[in-house]
């Protein structure tokens, strides 16, 4: 019952905030209180193993809360609150909040759904309303981006529906349950069809095309929830399909898993490369988000206990740091009205808190200790080496190096360098953004130093399906390969930092130089001299990579489009000719017939 009440509450709050649309303050208060209530209701009332079914005359909607639904539900709801608080600073109407709440309802219902039909229904609800959210985005190209997103979602959704029908046909059950006993090809087909929408949601490589545009063109605060929260549904789907629907996949189709892992690694590496070639902050982050979700796919593809733990931990980490980065960029956009890296710079002097947020965000994205990005990367590498796929390991490592490149480009473009004249009077991001930044910084650091806090629930999720191999307690993690005590890593870093700072402080004094007091081959420069170079930051990499960098999936798709329209033209020519053409066809047909008959006619 609790789950139903929760969903009902969310829908009601959405409708109320829609009705209260013009009365801004009241609407915001209601929306905020609704989200907070939902969050605490979720924490207190929903326990793993809770079952509820709703009888709607012809159909029973089944709900069940598991450990995984709890895990993802908490992430999504918490991010929703952060998104909501920041979004109050934007100009939004009531419908925006209605759509937002219905998106959240759909997402949570997906987590609870126990049968495939209602799963599909809620999944499509979520997709539809998140499409509407993107549609309400900020730029002129929003419609195009949103439409792209919708097309891909619908594609994924119908693949899922097809998979559902196949499963129902063969197993006579709509419940989410094992299909391992089915005959060969059918299983694999169902598996792929069921996995498709989640690959779309988590932007796995051939299905990622909607993501950069949709992330870029949705409203900045919504992107926080969109990238950090909704993509978790994709990860949840991976978990659902690979562990609940097809339990014996590792035995039956190890090559499928291997392909899945490689796909994830390719996603991570290629998106990383695309990310550091972008000049727009949100597009860069979009590719970075895709890249990070690639690691999650790798973790699932390896299919050992601690690789899946790593994947789920990384999903959590992704939710934390990617949301943090999007939130900071949203705050910067709120103040400067631009996300173009070439037009910003030097904002560290005006927005110090945002800078700290972004700095720790990129440190976590790069996977440097002591942040949340490190434990999952560490576990993933251990799992990869233990699995013995060294080339895959190398590709994943390559991807994580690209993370250094794009994350530095981001912080350099926005915060470092010379302050532009038009940003002289920019203030720190408003309270809503600052709140989210501070709140997200806490798990980012705490879970980086004491990952044991969440390893335990994640272990509960995974140990039911895979043999537990990972030794862990609050501070330590043990794999057959190695051992890390994360607080000690943090402590050593703190200690050495104190030492370096000590050296810095006892050494001679320094003075604060003006920005124009710069080594420019001793030329005197004035304020409007262009010192800060952020565009084409890795321009020379185009030379290093050569042609492959200019390839993209979009171009391939466009080539397909051209091919199909050409074929269409040809086919049209057959049907749309005039009388003479038809006469020619008839004669040609008879000539062919005569030839085939070989003169017997």
């Amino acid at each position: 019952m609790a789950m139903f009440y929760l969903l009902l509450l969310l829908v009601l709050v959405g409708i109320v905030s829609f009705v209260l649309g013009p009365i801004k303050v009241l609407r915001n208060i209601i929306a905020f209180l609704g989200a907070v209530t939902a969050f605490f209701y979720f924490l207190t009332n929903i326990k793993p193993g809770l079952i509820y079914s709703l009888n709607i005359r012809v159909y029973n909607v089944h709900f069940e809360a598991g450990f995984s639904s709890m895990f993802f539900g908490v992430i999504i709801t918490a991010l929703f609150i952060i998104f909501l608080i920041a979004s109050f600073h934007e100009e939004n109407d009531g419908a925006y909040y209605l759509f937002a709440y219905l998106t959240l309802t759909g997402a949570l219902a997906v987590l609870f759904a126990k049968d495939l039909i209602s799963f599909f229904f809620f999944f499509e609800t979520m997709s539809l309303f998140s499409f509407l959210m993107v549609l309400k985005g900020k730029s002129d190209t929003s419609f195009r981006s949103a439409f792209k997103y919708l097309v891909w979602s619908v594609f994924g959704g119908y693949a899922f529906l097809m998979g559902t029908f196949l499963k129902v046909y063969y197993t006579h059950s709509v419940m989410i349950g094992d299909i391992s006993y089915l005959a060969g090809g059918v299983k694999l087909l169902i598996l792929i069809l069921l996995l498709a929408p989640f690959a779309v949601k988590a932007a796995l490589m051939p299905f990622h095309l909607w993501a950069p545009d949709a992330y870029k063109d949705s409203k900045d605060t919504f992107t926080v929830f969109f990238s950090g929260g909704l993509s978790k549904i994709g990860v949840f789907g991976y978990f659902l399909v690979l562990f609940k629907v097809f339990t014996e996949i590792a035995v039956k189709y190890p090559y499928f898993l291997k392909a899945f892992a490689w796909l994830g690694a390719i996603t991570a590496a290629l998106s990383g490369i695309y990310a550091f070639m972008q000049d727009d902050a949100k597009k860069l982050l979009a590719y970075s988000s895709i890249s990070q979700l690639g690691y999650v796919a790798v973790g699932f593809g390896i299919y050992t206990h601690f690789s899946v733990v790593a994947a789920l931990f990384h999903a959590l980490g992704h939710a934390v740091f990617e949301s943090l980065l999007f939130l900071v960029v949203a705050g910067v956009y709120y103040r400067t009205k631009t996300t173009d890296l070439r037009k910003m710079g030097g904002l560290i002097k005006r927005m110090p808190l945002s800078f700290i947020g972004l700095l720790f965000g990129i440190i976590a994205t790069s996977g440097i200790p002591p942040t949340i990005g490190f434990p999952s990367k560490w576990l993933l590498y251990e799992a990869l080496i233990l699995k013995g796929d060294l080339l895959l390991t190398s590709l994943v490592f390559f991807a994580s190096i690209t993370a250094f490149l794009y994350s530095y480009k981001l912080v350099h473009g926005i915060f470092l360098g010379k302050l532009h004249e038009e940003h002289k009077n920019v203030k720190e991001a408003p309270l809503g953004y600052a709140f989210g930044t501070v709140v997200l910084l806490v798990p980012l650091l705490v879970l980086g130093i004491i990952p044991g806090l969440v390893i335990k629930p994640i272990d509960y999720i995974v140990r039911f399906y895979l043999k537990p191999e990972l030794g862990y307690n609050l501070a330590n993690m043990n794999t057959p390969l190695g051992h890390v005590n994360f607080p000690v890593v943090g402590l050593v870093m703190g200690l050495t930092f104190a030492l370096s700072l000590f050296i810095y402080l006892i050494a001679g004094k320094s003075y604060r130089a003006e920005q124009t007091d710069n080594y420019t081959a001793t030329e005197a420069i004035d304020e409007d001299f262009e010192l800060h170079y952020a565009g084409e930051f890795y321009g020379f990499m185009k030379k290093a990579f050569g042609r492959p960098l200019t390839w993209s999936f979009e171009k391939i798709l466009n080539a397909f489009l051209k091919l199909f329209s050409f074929l269409g033209e040809v086919a049209r020519g057959f049907y749309m000719g005039d009388a003479r053409v038809y006469l020619f066809y008839v004669i040609a047909f008879f000539a062919l017939l005569a030839y085939l008959m070989g003169g017997k006619l």
């Binding site: 003075y511 130089a513 003006e514 007091d517 080594y519 001793t522 030329e523 005197a524 004035d526």
Partner: protein, 169 residues
Amino acid sequence: MKLFKFAQSRSLWMMHFCTGCGAVELPPTMTSRFDMERFGIIPMATPRQSDLLLITGYLTVKTLKRVVRAYEQMPTPRYVIGFGSCTINGGMYWDSYNVIKKLELYIPVDLYINGCMPRPEAIIDAFLKLREMIDKGEANAWKKYIENYEWYKKNQAEVFDVEKWSLKK
């Protein structure tokens, strides 16, 4: 303290800023024939990193502006060696309308090397002399610049636009 002084005199990083024709004497001084690195003197790329500014030859007003800027960007203690007769009295450009005559009027100089051109031996001799001066605490021209800042600025203002070319601290 003594150790730091020792280090200061033994490690002089020279700015790689060749002004006049005297720069041509530096490559032999750096390379294997005379090897100034054995005294701890190496060329550095930017004024931020260097201790020693070598004015190698004549300075036009145009160059002087840049030299003053570079000099002010160098962290203290910083030393200046005037190199060749051009820095002393204008040398062969004694009546040129665009070459400054006395370097000392614009930036303080620790040491002059006479000649047109001085040989690498003379340069190395000057380096050793400068090292001695630092050891004895005599190479204090940079202090003069800070104490008599107004005076130097006044002199500089007579030849170029000081407002634009000097640093604001």
